[in-house]
Symmetry: C2
Subunit: 317 residues, 2 copies
DNA sequence: AAGATTGCTGTTACCGCTAACAAGATTTAC
DNA sequence: GTAAATCTTGTTAGCGGTAACAGCAATCTT
């Protein structure tokens, strides 16, 4: 494996100049840079990450904590993780994945954390390295998330455009910012259209949503669309309706939220608000690396735009 | 952060002796070791991974390639990944996750690869670092996998014990060792019990299995159990049967294979052959680290035992 | 009892890279 | 025209570890 020294010999300069050509190119004559870069290319130079890390007192490692129960959330985080990992790899960072803060053995340059419960903010705020959270929060940590409000706005508007008479929101029964945002998006669009909001909330389990449909079926008029705060709930609503009447796509509508795996498993496939998981992962990584480089980087809350993915669970006008 | 030098001062030895106490304890007097370890404890010593990596000409990075389309397989690999990552972290390795062999930028100490297609073995065999594959293969690479044969044996035996008259195998239409093993397990148990095997194969999509049920429903007698090569197919079979008759758990049986997410989404939950994904991940990592340490380590093919997870898609005797 | 062997610890050099400083050449200032 | 400022490159030292070797007692041979 070629080192700076090898490049230096071929380009007839000192290895310091090579190092500078990489890290502070503005300090090196263009002429030299040309021959240095061509030597690097010729010798297929790969920087030695360990040496760089040692001298910079960095680790080139990022820790990713998934604090939520992974059995339940499995599909959700895989693409996020890929986004994070591939972005990091580009900058020669690697990853340690942890599902429990207690087995935090080694050291790293920063943290990406997701699935926080209220009690977690306690130790998170004591961390001494840069942190980026995945998911809205009210504690003034940098975060990246889907624009949840916009997501339910898109969904609600679409439902109204398709001509559903009644548009009901099925929320998740948690006091989390993401849930408030999703409810807000729905409420706003309803009010803009002089419609009365109607919200029901359940723990995020499909069978609860299904039970709700079965229990209240007599009061659920045709031409109703359910805007759900998760695909899981949407899945349950859809199942409940199918159980009661096989005519879902025409008489009823269901819109989910997430667009991760479950929407495709449903029959018909769910119309859903798709979160750009891969891009969210990249954004987490990018923001974190920026904070590592510049430790006065101001607080940033980055919201990426979701997309409405039309499936068969809503009528086509 | 304390260094070897700091420990050395406190313990009144040279830093070399401290290094030895860690890596070759048999060369250091017990007396010194005691005071060295207590100094390490006192100063909360953490080895500097970069320094170690530099001097050993290692990277402390493992690459994990997921070559399969991640959209389809998302849930499947998450727990495997957690198993790999947590095991690696214990030994101060970190991870780079790649979904495409071409964006292989940096360097690493070894590879874990999964989702290989036939054409991939070409470049895999040219890799110059230790490799462990996740998944049976016929090319004499070290691998870790579930004992697929045992999985379908468990399933088939269970189906027979529950008294199903007809036990049919629904396979995945690929020429892969894992599929042959699963079919073999089924065939063996059928023959042991003087039953005639009956196998149908489809691409691994639930709707194909569902269509199959609908198309051949007239010939599907009650008291039949379907042993499926994946939860995806089982999910489709179950849906098909539910469409035709709501009495699945009593008149028919469905057993899946994987036990990853999808089995829990089904209603009723699928009886399935559960792969120990977390442990498989750990095993991949362990085997790889062993091969990195000892490059004459002999070829190893490690099969972990699956478990039958009883759900509501089969009758209880 | 002298030389050889063993057991344990310290010294040196180096892994590949970069910050800090040194130093020469060129330009600018007055 | 000379001192100062600027630009560009090289030299040195050190990041935190470990292998290789050196050195010195204690023990073993014969």
């Amino acid at each position: 494996m070629a080192t700076l020294e090898d490049i230096a010999k071929v380009a007839h300069v000192s290895k310091m100049t090579v190092s500078r050509a990489i890290n502070h190119p503005e300090l090196v004559r263009d002429e030299l840079k040309t021959s240095i870069f061509s030597a690097m290319h010729e010798l297929n130079y790969r920087p030695n990450v360990a040496a760089k890390a040692l001298v910079n007192n960095k680790t080139q490692v990022i820790k990713f904590f998934v604090l939520e129960d992974i059995d339940i959330t499995e599909p959700y985080y895989m693409k996020l993780l890929v986004g994070i990992a591939e972005y990091l790899a580009k900058y020669q960072y690697s990853l340690q994945l942890m599902t429990d803060e207690h087995l935090d053995i080694g050291v790293s340059d920063g943290y990406i954390i997701t699935g926080m419960r209220d009690e977690d903010y306690d130790w998170i705020k004591r961390l001494e390295l840069p942190v980026v959270l995945f998911g809205e929060n009210r504690w003034h940590f940098d975060f990246v998330d889907t624009n949840n409000e916009m997501g339910t706005q898109l969904a609600t508007r679409y439902a109204l455009e398709q001509g559903y008479d009644r548009v009901v929101f099925i929320g998740i029964d948690v006091k989390e910012p993401f849930e408030y945002s999703r409810e807000n998006g729905y409420i706003q669009v309803m009010q803009e259209n002089q419609r009365m909001p109607e919200i029901h909330r359940f723990a995020n389990h499909s069978h609860l949503a299904m039970d709700f449909i079965e229990a209240t079926w007599s009061r659920i008029t045709p031409n109703t669309c359910f805007i759900c705060a998760s695909d899981r709930l949407a899945f349950g609503i859809q199942k409940g309706i199918l159980q009661m009447s096989p005519e879902i796509a025409t008489d009823y509508g269901v819109i989910g939220f997430d667009g991760v795996f479950l929407d495709q498993v449903a029959t018909p496939q769910l119309t859903t608000v798709e979160q750009p998981m891969y891009e969210l992962g990249e954004a987490c990584a990018e923001l974190l690396l920026r904070k590592i480089k510049d430790n006065h980087y101001p607080l940033e809350e980055r919201l990426l735009q979701p997309k409405l993915k039309i499936g068969g669970s809503t009528r086509k006008k």
